[in-house]
């Protein structure tokens, strides 16, 4: 078994093009994704909306609303364009010129501020709702003879929590996601491990040799796991040194997570290969898994899913453990995630051995 392990490990590392790509690709992803997502968050560019505005009010009422529309902070996210007629704004929303249209009109004694929008989550709704409530307060307070003053608004409402979370940069936060996403490509080695036997008649030679199939598989699984884990370690070192990524967690925990991920990914590749018996289809399934698991863990933006599907994703659990150790999360969260990763790993290899076992007495020639 050790001979098989040595040979497989040597073959993996000697595959220079794939090794270089597996190291370079995550670094590229860390750089692009980290900077892009940080840029998007700081600038609010994903929130940017073209907003049409029509103000039918007069006097002080008009002035206060106009002031809100031209507020600096407001203007960073919303690109406001004043229109001369209500119909122009409504048409603008219909044909996509505006994401949202605000119009203010007086109906009897009431001022009605309407927001017509194609974005049901627009932050404008919160802003306008707040403006409306404050305006009601100011007017009703004045009518009651209370002196509603703007300097009430200088009081601090928030205090920063003592619980120091730190402020990670984009690269710090997304280096974990990017690496986990890239490691899934290690499943290719799991696929090649199973299907190369069929292609090169290695399986026939293995069957007539004194080495049991279990030892052959064991040696290859071990070699692939060490290989993928080594790639992960190299990427972590390079991202820390060249990109300033933050991997300052417990090194033992980080290493264990990478070993588990490598085992799972290798196993998944082997399962796909065993089920499909086709390189193309197995790689297609691996691509599907890559995208689904990455999305479940929030790799495409900081909004992970928390459904059962996410919990069954190795990326999601590995990410939780790594963030917990790097940014001081709870031990309970780490144990829970480790537990799920162990379950996923055992289930993966169980499925593989069941599928392989059922094919063992079949035709070895493909």
């Amino acid at each position: 078994m050790f001979t098989i392990f040595k040979l497989a490990l040597k073959r993996n590392f000697m595959n220079i093009p794939i090794t270089v790509v597996l190291i370079f690709f995550p670094l590229l992803l860390i750089y692009i994704l980290g900077n892009a997502l940080e840029g998007m968050q700081e600038s609010g560019i994903t929130l940017q909306e073209n907003v049409g505005f029509y103000n039918q009010l007069q006097g002080v009422e008009a002035e206060s609303l106009n002031q809100l529309m031209t507020d600096d902070q407001f203007g960073e996210i919303f690109i406001i364009e004043q229109v001369n007629e209500k119909s122009v704004g409504l048409d603008g929303v219909e044909n996509g010129d505006f994401t949202s249209f605000i119009f203010a009109e007086k109906i009897g004694q009431q001022v009605k501020i309407s927001l017509v929008t194609t974005n049901k989550n627009t932050p404008l709704a919160t802003v306008l709702r707040s403006f409306t409530e404050t305006a009601n307060l100011a007017i009703n307070a004045s009518r009651s003879g209370l002196n509603w003053q703007l300097d009430t608004y200088n009081q601090e409402v928030f205090s920063k929590s003592d619980d120091n979370l730190g402020s990670p940069k984009g690269i710090d936060y997304y280096c974990v996601q990017s690496l986990l996403q890239s490691l899934i490509f290690g499943g290719l080695f799991g696929i090649f491990t199973v299907l190369e036997d069929n292609d090169k008649n290695t399986y026939v030679r293995v069957k007539v040799s004194p080495v049991s199939r279990r030892k052959v598989m064991g040696g290859r699984i071990a070699a692939n796991t060490i290989y993928i884990t080594s790639i992960a370690m190299i990427v972590m070192s390079c991202s820390t040194f060249f990109l300033g990524a933050n991997w300052n967690g417990n090194p033992v925990i980080i290493f264990l997570v990478m070993v588990l991920m490598a085992l799972i990914i290798n196993g998944v590749g082997m399962v796909f290969a065993a089920i499909t018996n086709s390189t193309g289809l197995a790689i297609g399934l691996l691509t599907v898994a890559l995208m689904l698991w990455s999305k479940a863990s929030g790799a495409y933006g900081p909004e992970p899913s928390d459904s059962i599907f996410a919990v069954l994703s190795p990326n999601f659990n590995a990410k939780n453990i790594l963030y917990a150790t790097i940014y001081g999360g709870s031990q309970m969260m780490m144990f829970r995630a480790f537990g799920w990763m162990m379950i996923i790993m055992c289930a993966t290899y169980l499925v593989f051995f069941i599928v392989e076992g059922s094919k063992r007495n079949g035709d070895f020639q493909k």
Binding site: G44, G96, K112, L165, G284, D306
Partner: protein, 365 residues
């Protein structure tokens, strides 16, 4: 056109290829485009006061944000792993502090300082300050709630209406996915060249009366045909399932995507010739596709990326495809995308020249 027809038959006869090229893109788009929580702020609240005021504040937040009520000791974990964007801890004695004008504040936590939090923070700030103002001007709790109800009398009314409208960013996102799956399709089709070489089909063709150039041209045409069929099916799917709007110049957009099919197939031919092995060519395109689509602006707006990355992206065909698609979806003039077509055709010519130079050696092997 024997080779052309034969390649199409081989492709149609392979169920895995049909699934990956036609079915998987649709499933993916359904999965990724159904998730529209990208912009909604998710807030965790630990309410230690459990008072009327704290519950009302939470109720107000729930009108526009996703709110999760949890314990204080769960907040850190939720924030760190990104389950929530923002957390609040309403301390015990909050209501009492507001009513009796004692200094009281809400603890806030966030991990990523994002513009996304701005709206929610402003709202909470204004709401609490309004309550503090009322608290300053009342004598007791009963008077406080009486005044609060009085001051809520609606002189100003807010109304929100959601319309369907054309959502350009959704259409652009759909184009991004289309580009990704065109790249996958191109390698699946181009890999037929490797299979032909390994099975000595190329040798038999050379030995026949069919000129070698016919083999390459007909193969390439068959790959493009499959790609154009894929693009057509995806557009039909987008229109009928998502009701996406692709601008007034849809025909030009279709031509643009078809041009990208040609570029992708030309690029895949280079990959196939370089890797010389079916498995490695699949692996390489798998690895290359994500950065190509990302750098092309297929996943997010390039304006958020560093200048150096924006410059590099201009040397990638996916960038010109996405930019052209964006302009057409936003109803820019057709002549604005002429440059995009020109650049894509230049990429095609370059890739084809490189692949022709490499093919001779590839076929000999």
């Amino acid at each position: 056109m024997v080779i052309f027809r034969n390649n199409l038959k081989r492709f149609i006869g392979s169920k895995p290829k049909l699934i990956i090229v036609f079915i998987v893109p649709m499933l993916f788009t359904i999965l990724f485009m159904s998730d529209d929580n990208n912009i909604q702020v998710s807030i965790a609240v630990a309410d230690e006061d459990l008072s009327v005021i704290s519950r009302e504040l939470i109720g107000k937040l729930q009108e526009e944000s996703e709110v999760k009520i949890i314990m204080r000791n769960e907040i850190r974990d939720n924030i760190i792993v990104g389950d929530v964007d923002y957390a609040l801890i309403i301390p015990k004695g909050f209501q009492e502090g507001i009513i009796n004008s004692h200094p009281i504040s809400i603890e806030e936590l966030y991990f990523i300082d994002s513009m996304k939090l701005h709206g929610a923070r402003s709202f909470i700030q204004n709401y609490v300050r309004n309550l503090k103002f009322i608290g300053k001007n009342v004598a007791n709790e009963e008077e406080f709630f009486q005044k609060t109800a009085e001051f809520e009398q609606e002189n100003y009314v807010f109304d929100k209406v959601i319309r369907q409208g054309h959502k350009a960013n959704e259409s652009e996102g759909a184009i991004g996915y289309m580009i990704q799956f065109i790249l996958y399709m191109s390698i699946i089709t181009s890999a037929l060249l490797i299979i032909d070489r390994d099975r000595n089909t190329v040798v038999r063709i050379i030995a026949s009366s069919l000129p070698r150039s016919h083999y390459i041209v007909q193969s390439f045409l068959s790959f493009i045909t499959i790609g154009v069929i894929q693009v057509s099916i995806m557009f039909v799917f987008y229109h009928f399932y998502f009701a996406l709007y692709f601008g007034k110049n849809f025909i030009i957009l279709f031509l643009l995507m078809s041009t990208f099919v040609i570029v992708a197939n030309a690029l895949s031919m280079i990959i196939v010739i370089l890797t010389k092995n079916e498995k490695f060519s699949y692996g390489l395109i798998l690895v290359l596709t994500t950065p190509l689509v990302m750098l092309g602006g297929g996943y997010f707006n390039l304006e958020a990326m560093p200048q150096a990355v924006q410059l590099i992206s201009k040397f990638i065909p996916t960038y010109w495809t996405m930019e052209g698609a964006r302009m057409l979806i936003n109803d820019n003039h057709i002549k604005d995308v002429a440059v995009n077509f020109l650049v894509l055709l230049t990429f095609t010519a370059t890739f084809l020249i490189i692949s022709m130079i490499g093919y001779k050696k590839f076929a000999k092997e």
